[in-house]
Protein backbone atom coordinates (compact mmCIF):
# COMPACT_ATOMS: atom_id res chain seq x y z
CA UNK A 1 0.00 0.00 0.00
CA UNK A 2 1.21 3.50 -0.81
CA UNK A 3 1.14 5.84 2.16
CA UNK A 4 2.15 8.89 0.15
CA UNK A 5 1.40 9.59 -3.49
CA UNK A 6 2.80 12.64 -5.23
CA UNK A 7 1.47 13.28 -8.73
CA UNK A 8 2.69 15.84 -11.29
CA UNK A 9 3.60 18.34 -8.59
CA UNK A 10 5.05 21.68 -9.68
CA UNK A 11 6.30 24.74 -7.86
CA UNK A 12 7.94 27.88 -9.23
CA UNK A 13 9.47 30.85 -7.44
CA UNK A 14 9.14 33.95 -9.61
CA UNK A 15 9.83 32.12 -12.84
CA UNK A 16 12.35 29.70 -11.36
CA UNK A 17 11.04 26.15 -11.53
CA UNK A 18 12.11 24.59 -8.25
CA UNK A 19 9.99 21.45 -8.70
CA UNK A 20 8.63 20.46 -12.08
CA UNK A 21 6.23 17.62 -12.79
CA UNK A 22 7.39 15.35 -10.00
CA UNK A 23 5.55 12.09 -9.34
CA UNK A 24 6.48 9.32 -6.94
CA UNK A 25 5.07 7.08 -4.22
CA UNK A 26 6.21 6.04 -0.80
CA UNK A 27 5.09 2.60 0.29
CA UNK A 28 3.99 2.13 3.89
CA UNK A 29 6.73 0.93 6.25
CA UNK A 30 9.54 1.66 3.85
CA UNK A 31 12.45 4.08 3.84
CA UNK A 32 12.81 6.17 0.70
CA UNK A 33 15.78 8.46 0.17
CA UNK A 34 15.62 11.63 -1.88
CA UNK A 35 19.01 12.64 -3.20
CA UNK A 36 20.31 15.25 -5.60
CA UNK A 37 22.69 18.20 -5.75
CA UNK A 38 22.11 21.44 -3.85
CA UNK A 39 19.29 23.49 -5.32
CA UNK A 40 17.68 20.41 -6.89
CA UNK A 41 14.37 21.20 -5.18
CA UNK A 42 14.41 18.58 -2.43
CA UNK A 43 13.56 20.90 0.43
CA UNK A 44 10.91 22.61 -1.68
CA UNK A 45 9.33 19.21 -2.31
CA UNK A 46 9.26 18.61 1.46
CA UNK A 47 7.67 21.99 2.01
CA UNK A 48 4.98 21.08 -0.52
CA UNK A 49 4.23 17.78 1.17
CA UNK A 50 4.27 19.28 4.67
CA UNK A 51 2.05 22.22 3.74
CA UNK A 52 4.59 24.98 4.26
CA UNK A 53 4.08 25.75 0.56
CA UNK A 54 1.13 25.06 -1.72
CA UNK A 55 1.91 23.45 -5.09
CA UNK A 56 1.15 25.37 -8.28
CA UNK A 57 -0.04 22.14 -9.89
CA UNK A 58 -0.47 18.49 -9.10
CA UNK A 59 -1.92 16.40 -6.30
CA UNK A 60 -0.50 14.94 -3.13
CA UNK A 61 -2.37 12.29 -1.24
CA UNK A 62 -1.60 10.77 2.10
CA UNK A 63 -3.36 7.68 3.42
CA UNK A 64 -5.74 7.93 0.44
CA UNK A 65 -6.76 11.53 1.21
CA UNK A 66 -5.73 14.62 -0.80
CA UNK A 67 -3.58 16.94 1.34
CA UNK A 68 -2.13 19.47 -1.10
CA UNK A 69 -2.94 22.99 0.05
CA UNK A 70 -3.72 22.10 3.66
CA UNK A 71 -2.00 24.09 6.42
CA UNK A 72 1.12 22.61 8.08
CA UNK A 73 -0.75 21.98 11.35
CA UNK A 74 -3.52 20.12 9.51
CA UNK A 75 -0.98 17.96 7.73
CA UNK A 76 0.76 17.24 11.00
CA UNK A 77 -2.59 16.20 12.45
CA UNK A 78 -3.08 13.80 9.51
CA UNK A 79 0.15 12.08 10.52
CA UNK A 80 3.14 13.62 8.76
CA UNK A 81 6.04 14.80 10.92
CA UNK A 82 8.86 16.86 9.43
CA UNK A 83 12.25 18.26 10.36
CA UNK A 84 13.87 21.41 9.02
CA UNK A 85 17.18 21.35 7.16
CA UNK A 86 18.01 24.66 8.84
CA UNK A 87 17.13 23.60 12.36
CA UNK A 88 14.44 25.57 14.16
CA UNK A 89 14.63 24.71 17.85
CA UNK A 90 12.52 26.57 20.42
CA UNK A 91 15.75 28.04 21.71
CA UNK A 92 14.44 29.45 24.98
CA UNK A 93 12.71 26.23 26.04
CA UNK A 94 14.32 23.16 27.54
CA UNK A 95 14.97 20.12 25.36
CA UNK A 96 12.16 18.27 27.13
CA UNK A 97 9.72 21.16 26.62
CA UNK A 98 10.63 21.29 22.92
CA UNK A 99 9.61 17.67 22.51
CA UNK A 100 6.59 18.03 24.82
CA UNK A 101 5.17 20.66 22.45
CA UNK A 102 5.20 18.00 19.74
CA UNK A 103 3.73 15.34 22.01
CA UNK A 104 0.78 17.60 22.91
CA UNK A 105 -0.47 16.97 19.37
CA UNK A 106 -1.81 13.56 20.38
CA UNK A 107 -1.91 13.96 24.18
CA UNK A 108 -3.90 16.94 25.46
CA UNK A 109 -2.64 16.33 28.98
CA UNK A 110 0.76 17.84 29.74
CA UNK A 111 1.78 15.07 32.12
CA UNK A 112 1.21 12.31 29.57
CA UNK A 113 2.78 14.45 26.85
CA UNK A 114 5.91 14.86 28.99
CA UNK A 115 6.08 11.14 29.56
CA UNK A 116 5.84 10.51 25.81
CA UNK A 117 8.52 13.14 25.23
CA UNK A 118 10.82 11.54 27.79
CA UNK A 119 10.49 8.14 26.09
CA UNK A 120 11.39 9.65 22.73
CA UNK A 121 14.39 11.50 24.18
CA UNK A 122 15.66 8.22 25.59
CA UNK A 123 15.23 6.58 22.19
CA UNK A 124 17.23 9.36 20.54
CA UNK A 125 19.94 9.46 23.19
CA UNK A 126 19.11 12.97 24.34
CA UNK A 127 17.70 12.06 27.75
CA UNK A 128 20.75 13.33 29.64
CA UNK A 129 20.24 16.78 28.16
CA UNK A 130 16.50 17.07 28.70
CA UNK A 131 16.71 19.97 31.17
CA UNK A 132 19.16 22.04 29.13
CA UNK A 133 17.86 24.94 27.10
CA UNK A 134 17.72 23.93 23.43
CA UNK A 135 19.92 26.95 22.65
CA UNK A 136 22.83 25.21 24.39
CA UNK A 137 22.81 22.12 22.15
CA UNK A 138 25.49 21.42 19.54
CA UNK A 139 24.42 21.16 15.91
CA UNK A 140 24.33 17.33 15.83
CA UNK A 141 22.15 17.38 18.96
CA UNK A 142 19.90 20.04 17.45
CA UNK A 143 19.39 17.75 14.47
CA UNK A 144 18.40 14.97 16.83
CA UNK A 145 16.06 17.33 18.61
CA UNK A 146 14.39 18.04 15.27
CA UNK A 147 13.81 14.31 14.82
CA UNK A 148 12.60 13.90 18.41
CA UNK A 149 10.10 16.72 18.08
CA UNK A 150 8.72 15.43 14.78
CA UNK A 151 8.50 11.92 16.22
CA UNK A 152 6.62 13.21 19.26
CA UNK A 153 3.70 14.30 17.09
CA UNK A 154 2.95 10.62 16.51
CA UNK A 155 3.38 10.55 12.73
CA UNK A 156 2.87 7.69 10.29
CA UNK A 157 5.31 9.31 7.88
CA UNK A 158 8.51 11.10 8.86
CA UNK A 159 10.10 13.65 6.54
CA UNK A 160 13.77 14.08 7.47
CA UNK A 161 15.74 16.85 5.77
CA UNK A 162 19.50 16.21 5.96
CA UNK A 163 19.51 15.15 9.60
CA UNK A 164 22.92 13.51 9.19
CA UNK A 165 24.71 16.45 7.61
CA UNK A 166 27.68 17.48 9.71
CA UNK A 167 27.64 14.35 11.82
CA UNK A 168 30.78 12.30 12.41
CA UNK A 169 30.64 8.76 10.95
CA UNK A 170 30.00 7.18 14.37
CA UNK A 171 27.21 9.65 15.12
CA UNK A 172 25.85 8.99 11.66
CA UNK A 173 25.78 5.25 12.32
CA UNK A 174 23.89 5.87 15.56
CA UNK A 175 21.19 7.80 13.72
CA UNK A 176 21.04 5.09 11.03
CA UNK A 177 20.44 2.52 13.78
CA UNK A 178 17.74 4.68 15.34
CA UNK A 179 15.92 5.14 12.03
CA UNK A 180 16.17 1.46 11.18
CA UNK A 181 14.68 0.58 14.56
CA UNK A 182 11.86 3.06 13.96
CA UNK A 183 11.00 1.31 10.74
CA UNK A 184 11.36 -2.25 11.97
CA UNK A 185 10.04 -1.90 15.51
CA UNK A 186 7.49 0.89 15.20
CA UNK A 187 6.38 0.36 11.59
CA UNK A 188 7.37 3.92 10.67
CA UNK A 189 7.53 5.12 7.08
CA UNK A 190 10.39 7.50 6.35
CA UNK A 191 11.17 9.81 3.45
CA UNK A 192 14.61 11.30 3.90
CA UNK A 193 16.72 13.83 2.08
CA UNK A 194 20.34 12.86 2.55
CA UNK A 195 23.73 13.67 1.09
CA UNK A 196 25.58 11.16 3.20
CA UNK A 197 25.67 8.18 0.78
CA UNK A 198 26.90 5.89 3.52
CA UNK A 199 23.56 6.38 5.30
CA UNK A 200 21.52 6.20 2.12
CA UNK A 201 23.11 2.88 1.11
CA UNK A 202 22.56 1.46 4.58
CA UNK A 203 18.99 2.57 5.05
CA UNK A 204 17.04 3.15 1.90
CA UNK A 205 14.73 0.59 0.33
CA UNK A 206 14.40 2.92 -2.63
CA UNK A 207 16.23 6.02 -3.84
CA UNK A 208 14.80 8.91 -5.87
CA UNK A 209 17.24 11.25 -7.59
CA UNK A 210 16.18 14.84 -8.17
CA UNK A 211 18.03 17.27 -10.45
CA UNK A 212 16.89 20.75 -11.50
CA UNK A 213 13.47 19.98 -10.05
CA UNK A 214 12.98 16.78 -12.03
CA UNK A 215 13.32 13.12 -11.18
CA UNK A 216 16.23 11.73 -13.19
CA UNK A 217 16.61 8.35 -11.59
CA UNK A 218 14.86 5.92 -9.28
CA UNK A 219 15.52 2.44 -7.90
CA UNK A 220 17.27 0.52 -5.17
CA UNK A 221 20.46 2.12 -3.85
CA UNK A 222 22.56 -0.38 -5.79
CA UNK A 223 20.68 0.31 -9.03
CA UNK A 224 20.76 4.07 -8.69
CA UNK A 225 24.50 4.39 -8.22
CA UNK A 226 24.99 2.62 -11.55
CA UNK A 227 22.64 4.85 -13.59
CA UNK A 228 24.75 7.02 -15.92
CA UNK A 229 22.52 10.12 -15.59
CA UNK A 230 22.76 9.97 -11.82
CA UNK A 231 26.49 9.49 -11.79
CA UNK A 232 26.98 12.37 -14.22
CA UNK A 233 24.75 14.88 -12.49
CA UNK A 234 25.17 14.02 -8.85
CA UNK A 235 27.44 11.27 -7.67
CA UNK A 236 30.28 12.41 -9.86
CA UNK A 237 30.27 15.84 -8.23
CA UNK A 238 29.94 14.81 -4.65
CA UNK A 239 32.90 14.39 -2.36
CA UNK A 240 30.94 12.55 0.35
CA UNK A 241 31.91 8.90 0.82
Amino acid sequence: MNLLEVQNVEKSFRGLRAVSDVSFEVEANSIVALIGPNGAGKTTLFNLIAGALAPDNGTISFDGQPIAGLRPDQICARGIGRTFQIVKPFAGLSVLDNVTVGALQRNANVITARAVAEDILIKLGLAAKCDQPAASLTLPDRKRLEVARALATGPKLLLLDEVMAGLRPTECDEVVAILRALKQRDGMTILLIEHVMRAVMALADRVIVLHHGEIIGEGTPAEVVRQPAVVASYLGETSEP
Binding site: D73, C76, F84, K88, F90, V101, V110, R149, A150, A152
Partner: protein
Protein backbone atom coordinates in the same frame (compact mmCIF):
# COMPACT_ATOMS: atom_id res chain seq x y z
CA UNK B 1 6.54 24.96 42.61
CA UNK B 2 9.16 24.21 45.25
CA UNK B 3 9.01 25.02 48.97
CA UNK B 4 10.91 28.27 48.79
CA UNK B 5 8.50 29.61 46.19
CA UNK B 6 5.54 28.61 48.34
CA UNK B 7 7.02 30.37 51.41
CA UNK B 8 7.80 33.47 49.36
CA UNK B 9 4.32 33.54 47.92
CA UNK B 10 2.56 32.98 51.25
CA UNK B 11 4.58 35.77 52.87
CA UNK B 12 3.69 38.14 50.06
CA UNK B 13 0.02 37.21 50.19
CA UNK B 14 -0.23 37.77 53.97
CA UNK B 15 1.54 41.13 53.78
CA UNK B 16 -0.70 42.29 50.98
CA UNK B 17 -3.88 41.10 52.70
CA UNK B 18 -3.02 42.83 55.94
CA UNK B 19 -1.70 46.05 54.40
CA UNK B 20 -4.82 48.26 54.85
CA UNK B 21 -4.69 47.51 58.60
CA UNK B 22 -1.47 49.45 59.09
CA UNK B 23 -0.90 51.50 55.94
CA UNK B 24 -1.76 55.20 55.76
CA UNK B 25 -3.72 56.48 52.79
CA UNK B 26 -0.60 57.48 50.86
CA UNK B 27 0.96 54.05 51.16
CA UNK B 28 -2.38 52.43 50.33
CA UNK B 29 -2.69 54.48 47.13
CA UNK B 30 0.83 53.47 46.09
CA UNK B 31 0.06 49.83 46.85
CA UNK B 32 -3.14 50.09 44.79
CA UNK B 33 -1.17 51.48 41.88
CA UNK B 34 1.41 48.71 42.24
CA UNK B 35 -1.29 46.04 42.12
CA UNK B 36 -2.91 47.75 39.15
CA UNK B 37 0.34 47.50 37.20
CA UNK B 38 1.00 43.98 38.44
CA UNK B 39 -2.41 43.05 37.04
CA UNK B 40 -2.15 44.83 33.68
CA UNK B 41 1.46 43.67 33.34
CA UNK B 42 0.29 40.10 33.80
CA UNK B 43 -2.36 40.63 31.11
CA UNK B 44 0.09 42.14 28.63
CA UNK B 45 2.61 39.42 29.43
CA UNK B 46 0.24 36.74 28.10
CA UNK B 47 0.39 38.31 24.67
CA UNK B 48 4.04 39.36 24.54
CA UNK B 49 5.83 37.31 27.17
CA UNK B 50 4.03 34.06 26.39
CA UNK B 51 3.00 34.32 22.75
CA UNK B 52 5.57 36.85 21.50
CA UNK B 53 3.11 39.39 20.07
CA UNK B 54 4.15 42.93 20.98
CA UNK B 55 1.25 45.26 21.72
CA UNK B 56 1.88 48.95 22.29
CA UNK B 57 -1.80 49.69 22.23
CA UNK B 58 -3.17 48.16 25.42
CA UNK B 59 -4.51 51.59 26.38
CA UNK B 60 -7.23 50.75 23.85
CA UNK B 61 -8.63 48.05 26.12
CA UNK B 62 -8.22 50.14 29.27
CA UNK B 63 -10.20 52.92 27.61
CA UNK B 64 -12.88 50.92 25.86
CA UNK B 65 -13.30 48.74 28.97
CA UNK B 66 -13.49 51.73 31.28
CA UNK B 67 -15.88 53.65 29.07
CA UNK B 68 -18.19 50.64 28.55
CA UNK B 69 -18.84 50.07 32.24
CA UNK B 70 -18.82 53.80 33.04
CA UNK B 71 -21.39 54.47 30.30
CA UNK B 72 -23.77 51.84 31.66
CA UNK B 73 -23.39 53.24 35.17
CA UNK B 74 -23.55 56.90 34.15
CA UNK B 75 -26.53 56.66 31.83
CA UNK B 76 -28.53 53.76 33.25
CA UNK B 77 -27.23 53.28 36.77
CA UNK B 78 -26.16 49.72 35.94
CA UNK B 79 -23.65 48.23 38.37
CA UNK B 80 -20.02 47.98 37.21
CA UNK B 81 -20.11 44.33 38.25
CA UNK B 82 -22.47 43.87 35.31
CA UNK B 83 -20.82 46.53 33.14
CA UNK B 84 -17.63 44.57 33.56
CA UNK B 85 -18.97 41.81 31.33
CA UNK B 86 -19.94 44.24 28.61
CA UNK B 87 -16.43 45.71 28.81
CA UNK B 88 -14.91 42.24 28.57
CA UNK B 89 -17.08 41.24 25.62
CA UNK B 90 -16.49 44.44 23.64
CA UNK B 91 -12.73 44.30 24.19
CA UNK B 92 -12.59 40.61 23.39
CA UNK B 93 -14.43 41.25 20.11
CA UNK B 94 -12.31 44.29 19.30
CA UNK B 95 -9.05 42.45 19.93
CA UNK B 96 -10.24 39.44 17.96
CA UNK B 97 -10.86 41.74 14.99
CA UNK B 98 -7.42 43.30 15.37
CA UNK B 99 -5.78 39.89 15.68
CA UNK B 100 -7.70 38.36 12.79
CA UNK B 101 -6.86 41.31 10.56
CA UNK B 102 -3.17 41.17 11.43
CA UNK B 103 -2.66 37.42 11.44
CA UNK B 104 -4.79 36.73 8.37
CA UNK B 105 -2.85 39.21 6.29
CA UNK B 106 0.54 38.30 7.68
CA UNK B 107 1.06 41.59 9.53
CA UNK B 108 3.72 40.66 12.07
CA UNK B 109 6.63 42.06 14.04
CA UNK B 110 6.86 45.86 14.11
CA UNK B 111 3.95 46.15 11.69
CA UNK B 112 1.73 44.29 14.12
CA UNK B 113 2.87 46.65 16.87
CA UNK B 114 2.09 49.65 14.69
CA UNK B 115 -1.37 48.26 14.11
CA UNK B 116 -1.99 48.05 17.87
CA UNK B 117 -0.91 51.68 18.23
CA UNK B 118 -3.12 52.70 15.32
CA UNK B 119 -6.19 51.05 16.89
CA UNK B 120 -5.60 52.87 20.19
CA UNK B 121 -5.06 56.20 18.45
CA UNK B 122 -8.24 55.76 16.40
CA UNK B 123 -10.15 55.11 19.60
CA UNK B 124 -8.62 58.20 21.24
CA UNK B 125 -9.71 60.41 18.37
CA UNK B 126 -13.09 58.70 18.08
CA UNK B 127 -13.89 59.08 21.78
CA UNK B 128 -12.81 62.74 21.66
CA UNK B 129 -15.82 63.30 19.42
CA UNK B 130 -18.18 60.87 21.15
CA UNK B 131 -20.37 63.38 22.96
CA UNK B 132 -22.68 60.77 24.48
CA UNK B 133 -19.66 59.82 26.60
CA UNK B 134 -18.54 63.36 27.26
CA UNK B 135 -16.16 63.69 24.32
CA UNK B 136 -12.86 65.42 24.97
CA UNK B 137 -14.35 67.19 28.03
CA UNK B 138 -14.40 63.86 29.83
CA UNK B 139 -16.90 61.63 31.59
CA UNK B 140 -17.33 62.07 35.34
CA UNK B 141 -18.80 59.54 37.73
CA UNK B 142 -20.35 60.55 41.02
CA UNK B 143 -17.52 60.58 43.53
CA UNK B 144 -17.72 57.81 46.08
CA UNK B 145 -18.77 58.49 49.63
CA UNK B 146 -15.66 57.35 51.37
CA UNK B 147 -17.39 56.08 54.51
CA UNK B 148 -20.02 53.89 52.86
CA UNK B 149 -19.17 50.59 51.32
CA UNK B 150 -21.23 49.80 48.23
CA UNK B 151 -19.56 46.85 46.61
CA UNK B 152 -22.26 46.47 43.98
CA UNK B 153 -21.48 49.89 42.55
CA UNK B 154 -17.79 49.80 43.42
CA UNK B 155 -18.17 52.86 45.66
CA UNK B 156 -16.41 53.07 49.00
CA UNK B 157 -13.22 53.82 50.92
CA UNK B 158 -9.76 53.36 49.36
CA UNK B 159 -9.40 49.96 51.02
CA UNK B 160 -12.31 48.69 48.90
CA UNK B 161 -10.41 49.54 45.72
CA UNK B 162 -7.27 48.11 47.19
CA UNK B 163 -8.92 44.77 47.88
CA UNK B 164 -10.65 44.78 44.50
CA UNK B 165 -7.39 45.16 42.61
CA UNK B 166 -5.64 42.75 44.98
CA UNK B 167 -8.28 40.16 44.09
CA UNK B 168 -7.80 40.85 40.39
CA UNK B 169 -4.00 40.66 40.62
CA UNK B 170 -4.28 37.40 42.55
CA UNK B 171 -6.68 35.91 40.02
CA UNK B 172 -4.49 37.03 37.14
CA UNK B 173 -1.46 35.44 38.74
CA UNK B 174 -3.37 32.21 39.26
CA UNK B 175 -4.72 32.21 35.72
CA UNK B 176 -1.31 32.85 34.18
CA UNK B 177 0.32 30.18 36.30
CA UNK B 178 -2.37 27.73 35.20
CA UNK B 179 -2.13 28.67 31.53
CA UNK B 180 1.64 28.50 31.49
CA UNK B 181 1.71 24.96 32.82
CA UNK B 182 -0.83 23.66 30.39
CA UNK B 183 -1.21 23.28 26.67
CA UNK B 184 -1.80 27.00 25.94
CA UNK B 185 1.45 27.94 27.67
CA UNK B 186 3.45 25.37 25.72
CA UNK B 187 1.83 26.33 22.44
CA UNK B 188 2.23 30.08 22.96
CA UNK B 189 5.87 29.72 23.88
CA UNK B 190 6.48 27.53 20.85
CA UNK B 191 4.90 30.20 18.64
CA UNK B 192 7.01 32.86 20.35
CA UNK B 193 10.22 30.92 19.80
CA UNK B 194 9.60 29.81 16.21
CA UNK B 195 6.27 30.06 14.50
CA UNK B 196 7.15 27.87 11.52
CA UNK B 197 8.35 25.04 13.72
CA UNK B 198 5.26 25.44 15.90
CA UNK B 199 2.99 25.04 12.87
CA UNK B 200 4.92 21.95 11.75
CA UNK B 201 4.23 20.40 15.17
CA UNK B 202 0.50 20.70 14.61
CA UNK B 203 -0.20 24.06 16.21
CA UNK B 204 -2.85 26.18 14.51
CA UNK B 205 -0.82 29.34 15.07
CA UNK B 206 -3.60 31.66 13.89
CA UNK B 207 -6.06 30.37 16.45
CA UNK B 208 -3.63 30.29 19.36
CA UNK B 209 -2.33 33.78 18.69
CA UNK B 210 -5.91 35.09 18.57
CA UNK B 211 -6.61 33.35 21.89
CA UNK B 212 -3.63 35.08 23.53
CA UNK B 213 -4.71 38.46 22.19
CA UNK B 214 -8.30 38.00 23.33
CA UNK B 215 -7.46 36.82 26.86
CA UNK B 216 -4.98 39.66 27.26
CA UNK B 217 -7.46 42.26 26.02
CA UNK B 218 -10.34 40.94 28.13
CA UNK B 219 -8.19 41.08 31.26
CA UNK B 220 -7.08 44.62 30.44
CA UNK B 221 -10.70 45.65 29.94
CA UNK B 222 -11.38 44.74 33.58
CA UNK B 223 -8.45 46.93 34.60
CA UNK B 224 -10.07 49.76 32.64
CA UNK B 225 -13.30 49.32 34.58
CA UNK B 226 -11.31 49.47 37.80
CA UNK B 227 -9.52 52.62 36.67
CA UNK B 228 -12.77 54.36 35.74
CA UNK B 229 -14.39 53.69 39.11
CA UNK B 230 -11.23 54.36 41.10
CA UNK B 231 -10.58 57.80 39.62
CA UNK B 232 -14.23 58.58 38.78
CA UNK B 233 -13.27 60.31 35.56
CA UNK B 234 -12.32 59.36 32.03
CA UNK B 235 -10.64 61.52 29.41
CA UNK B 236 -9.87 60.08 25.95
CA UNK B 237 -6.67 62.11 25.92
CA UNK B 238 -5.47 60.33 29.06
CA UNK B 239 -6.85 56.83 29.01
CA UNK B 240 -6.08 56.09 25.35
CA UNK B 241 -2.71 57.81 25.53
CA UNK B 242 0.26 55.78 24.33
CA UNK B 243 1.96 56.64 27.64
CA UNK B 244 -0.62 54.41 29.29
CA UNK B 245 0.35 51.56 26.98
CA UNK B 246 4.01 52.12 27.75
CA UNK B 247 3.38 52.22 31.52
CA UNK B 248 1.70 48.84 31.25
CA UNK B 249 4.59 47.16 29.49
CA UNK B 250 7.48 48.56 31.58
CA UNK B 251 6.74 46.32 34.57
CA UNK B 252 6.89 42.98 32.77
CA UNK B 253 9.88 44.06 30.66
CA UNK B 254 11.88 45.15 33.69
CA UNK B 255 10.67 42.26 35.83
CA UNK B 256 11.14 39.56 33.19
CA UNK B 257 8.94 38.87 30.20
CA UNK B 258 7.33 35.50 29.96
CA UNK B 259 7.74 34.79 33.67
CA UNK B 260 5.04 34.69 36.34
CA UNK B 261 6.77 36.84 38.94
CA UNK B 262 8.34 39.24 36.47
CA UNK B 263 5.28 41.47 36.02
CA UNK B 264 4.78 41.59 39.82
CA UNK B 265 8.37 42.49 40.64
CA UNK B 266 8.57 44.90 37.73
CA UNK B 267 5.37 46.65 38.81
CA UNK B 268 6.72 46.96 42.36
CA UNK B 269 9.98 48.48 41.13
CA UNK B 270 8.35 50.87 38.69
CA UNK B 271 5.85 52.13 41.29
CA UNK B 272 8.58 52.52 43.88
CA UNK B 273 10.73 54.32 41.35
CA UNK B 274 8.04 56.77 40.32
CA UNK B 275 7.15 57.70 43.88
CA UNK B 276 10.51 56.92 45.42
CA UNK B 277 12.28 59.30 43.06
CA UNK B 278 9.87 62.08 44.06
CA UNK B 279 10.44 61.39 47.75
CA UNK B 280 14.19 61.15 47.34
CA UNK B 281 14.41 64.41 45.45
CA UNK B 282 12.30 66.12 48.10
CA UNK B 283 14.36 64.66 50.94
CA UNK B 284 17.63 65.72 49.36
CA UNK B 285 16.21 69.16 48.68
CA UNK B 286 17.31 69.00 45.04
CA UNK B 287 15.23 71.57 43.30
CA UNK B 288 16.40 70.76 39.81
CA UNK B 289 13.77 70.33 37.10
CA UNK B 290 13.78 66.90 35.48
CA UNK B 291 15.97 65.26 38.12
CA UNK B 292 13.17 62.85 38.99
CA UNK B 293 12.85 61.68 35.40
CA UNK B 294 16.63 61.36 35.25
CA UNK B 295 16.80 59.05 38.27
CA UNK B 296 13.92 57.04 36.84
CA UNK B 297 15.64 56.79 33.47
CA UNK B 298 19.04 55.83 34.84
CA UNK B 299 17.69 53.03 37.00
CA UNK B 300 15.61 51.72 34.11
CA UNK B 301 18.66 51.83 31.86
CA UNK B 302 20.75 50.00 34.44
CA UNK B 303 18.21 47.19 34.70
CA UNK B 304 17.92 46.80 30.95
CA UNK B 305 21.69 46.84 30.43
CA UNK B 306 22.75 44.61 33.31
CA UNK B 307 19.72 42.30 33.46
CA UNK B 308 18.61 42.03 29.84
CA UNK B 309 16.19 39.22 30.67
CA UNK B 310 14.69 41.16 33.55
CA UNK B 311 15.02 41.05 37.30
CA UNK B 312 13.10 37.90 38.10
CA UNK B 313 15.19 35.42 36.06
CA UNK B 314 18.29 36.75 37.83
CA UNK B 315 16.69 36.41 41.29
CA UNK B 316 15.33 32.98 40.43
CA UNK B 317 18.80 31.80 39.47
CA UNK B 318 20.25 33.15 42.72
CA UNK B 319 17.55 31.58 44.87
CA UNK B 320 17.51 28.42 42.77
CA UNK B 321 13.80 28.81 42.20
CA UNK B 322 12.14 27.74 39.04
CA UNK B 323 11.32 30.59 36.70
Amino acid sequence: MNRRAVILLTGLAITLLALPLFANSYLLSIATLFLFFAYTGQAWNIMMGFAGQLSLGHALYLGVGGYSAAALYFHYGISPLIGLWLAVMICAALSACLGALAFRYGISGVYFTLLTIAFAECARIGFDHFTWLGGSAGLFLKVAQRDRIDILNLRGPPALYYYAILLLAGLAFGLCSWLLRRRPGYYWQAIRENEEAAAALGINTFRWKILAVVISAAMTAVAGVFLAFYYNNLFPEQIFNINRSVEIILGPIVGGMGTLFGPVIGAALMTLLTDGATELVAALGWDIPGVKQLIYGVILLAVVVFLPHGIWPAIARKLKLER
